[in-house]
């Protein structure tokens, strides 16, 4: 495209006012902005001391937990729906015959590879008995890969740790029913 191309429209930039031409008043204006920011409140979060807000903890997708039922047993029925739904194949379940009369199977071992998990929450959606849920724990760390394989006991302990803050879906339903009765 050449400078005399008819498709180019030439416009004049706005004229500088007197302050603009004197330059120094605008300099002063710029410095004022800088100084204002020098004393303005800071936006940095001091992370380990101040935890970031995480919105609604009930829908946050952090570390998994395995819920317990009313008798404190693992709620999972080892149906493998979560392992099937998992796109990252990070759930490893070994099923065994249930020692309890109310279900056929229970997980003898239930291991989630937290390093492999992509925290999509599809296990939670697939679960027919609301046994596996994602909590709002986001600061998951470990010193080795082995440490990041969460077994059944570890996942149940996550439940114990978070149940008061984040009641499970079933507990919330029961709570709602009780409220309605009142």
């Amino acid at each position: 495209m050449k400078p005399d191309d008819p498709a180019i429209r030439w416009v004049k930039p706005p004229e500088l006012g007197l302050t603009g031409r004197m330059y120094l008043p605008l300099v002063l204006q710029g410095v004022t902005t800088t100084v204002r920011h020098l004393f303005s409140p800071k936006v940095t979060q001091e992370y380990p001391e101040v935890e970031p807000p995480i919105g609604n903890p009930l829908i946050y997708r952090g570390v998994h937990r395995l819920n317990r039922d009313e008798q404190g047993r693992v709620k999972c029925v080892a149906c493998f729906l979560c392992a099937t739904a998992c796109p990252a194949h990070c759930i490893d379940i070994v099923a065994a015959e249930s020692p309890w009369p109310d279900r056929d199977k229970y997980p003898e071992s239930f291991v989630i590879d937290e390093l492999r998990c992509i925290y999509c929450g599809m296990c939670e959606e697939a679960c027919p008995v609301d046994a596996i849920e994602l909590t709002s724990l986001y600061n998951l760390t470990g010193r080795s890969r082995e440490e990041m394989f969460f077994d059944k006991e570890k996942l149940l302990s996550v439940y114990d740790q978070t149940k008061d803050r984040e009641p499970s879906a079933m507990e919330r339903q029961q709570q709602a029913a009780e409220d309605q009765q009142k």
């Binding site: 030439w10 416009v11 930039p13 007197l18 330059y23 410095v31 800071k42 940095t44």
Partner: protein, 400 residues
């Protein structure tokens, strides 16, 4: 002899500590201006005490000490090693004649707080020595055998030469007014008349401050090491302690520029109704003067840092425009006005200081106003590629 040693040790120790903390201050101010908090984790080593990050300089220094000192194979070894030494030594040697206070009463007589007292050509010495720093930059850029280093060095030589002139013009005004080249003499004159030269030399101050900023290669004048264009500029190929020496040299330059501004224009250790003016002082007043002096220097340094975050970097042609078309004429105006003043009213400053100051400020405002009317500074930075009028800008519209 002992006095000399004691003063040297105090000055060197103080300067190097101050520079280490200037790095921290720079990072803090940068963070605050960007609405961040800045480094605040490092405190006393091996404890959990943080002290608002005041331990950061120790961590920085240790990091530089333990870094691998890598010398690329293609460099000119002798010059490559010499360059940071040159720049660092030159930056430190400047402080030999710079007063860092007024006097202290030792053994019944007033001991001046200068490492080399009584140097009659003080200001000339400062400029002679600080010009050597350019050699450090050019040597480093040349010896690195790297096009980016070399470009940085070439830019620095052009820029520093261009800004030496307004710098000199600014100083000439002060020298004409005070009639001395001694830095302590200039401060004493300002203290005795009670009129800081900023009040009498507004144009000179402006020219000198801008030129000093350019000489110290601070943003917006840091074209010699701009990361976006030249990787690291003249110190691209440097690591470890050599790199640290370049960094220290830069901060020392900023400190030199700030100290000179304070000495020449802001009254040195003098403050109205606080420090007195005589040389017969007790320890209290003497230390108060030192404190006032360094407080002023710190304020100027803070000013440099605020300016750094207020401007974008100049383009090279804008840089040259500013030096040759703005700063040199302004400096000349100031110089001529001062020369006329001293020729016809040689005692104006001592007898009618405030009237003189008023007249000079009127002149300054008049000059800037006239400047605005005749040659708008802003229009010089716009692109000149229109068909007829050079100030047109192109907007593309779809063909009808």
């Amino acid at each position: 002899m002992t006095a000399l040693l004691v003063k040297s040790v105090i000055l060197l120790g103080g300067l190097l500590t101050a520079v280490a903390y200037l790095v921290l201050l720079e990072r803090k101010v940068a963070a605050w201006i960007q609405d961040r908090r800045g480094p605040n984790r490092v405190g006393i080593p091996f404890t959990k005490i943080r002290l608002f990050g005041l331990g950061q300089p120790i961590a920085d220094g240790l990091k530089f000490l333990f870094k691998e000192e890598y010398t690329p194979g293609h460099v000119d070894r002798a010059m490559y090693t010499l360059a940071p030494l040159v720049i660092f030594t030159a930056a430190l040697a400047t402080f030999a004649v710079i007063p860092f206070g007024h006097v202290v009463p030792v053994g019944g007589k007033a001991e001046p707080l200068v490492v080399a007292p009584g140097v009659d050509v003080g200001i000339l010495y400062v400029f002679a020595v600080s010009s050597i720093a350019v050699y450090g930059v050019i040597l480093g850029g040349w010896a690195s055998d790297n096009k980016y280093s070399f470009l940085g060095a070439m830019r620095s030589s052009a820029q520093l030469i261009a800004y030496e002139i307004p710098l000199g013009l600014g100083i000439l005004g002060v020298v004409l007014l005070t009639g001395t080249l001694r830095l302590d003499g200039m401060i004493e004159l300002q203290a005795q008349s009670g009129v800081w030269l900023l009040l009498v030399q507004p144009v000179g101050f402006l020219v000198f401050a801008v030129a000093a900023c350019a000489e110290a290669a601070r943003l917006p004048f840091d074209l010699l090491e701009c990361e976006q264009e030249l990787v690291g500029g003249y110190h691209t190929e440097y690591t470890g302690m050599k790199m640290a020496m370049y960094a220290l040299g830069e901060f020392l330059h900023m400190l030199t520029a700030s100290v000179l501004i304070v000495v020449l224009y802001l009254g040195g250790w003098h403050f109205w109704g606080l420090t007195g003016t005589g040389t017969e002082v007790g320890w209290g007043t003497a230390l108060l003067r030192v404190a006032v002096f360094w407080a002023k220097v710190m304020l100027v340094v803070l000013g440099f840092m605020i300016i750094r975050w207020s401007w974008p970097r100049f383009r090279f042609d804008q840089l040259m425009n500013l030096a040759w078309k703005v700063m040199v004429p302004l400096g000349l105006v100031n110089l001529v006005a001062t020369a006329v003043l001293m020729e016809f009213w040689p005692r104006a400053l001592t007898e009618h200081p405030w009237a003189t100051a008023g007249a000079m400020w009127a002149l300054a405002l008049g000059t800037v106003g006239l400047w605005a009317a005749l040659s708008p500074v802003g229009s010089q930075s716009q692109a000149r590629r229109g068909p007829d009028e050079f100030s047109m800008r192109r907007v593309e519209t779809p063909a009808a």
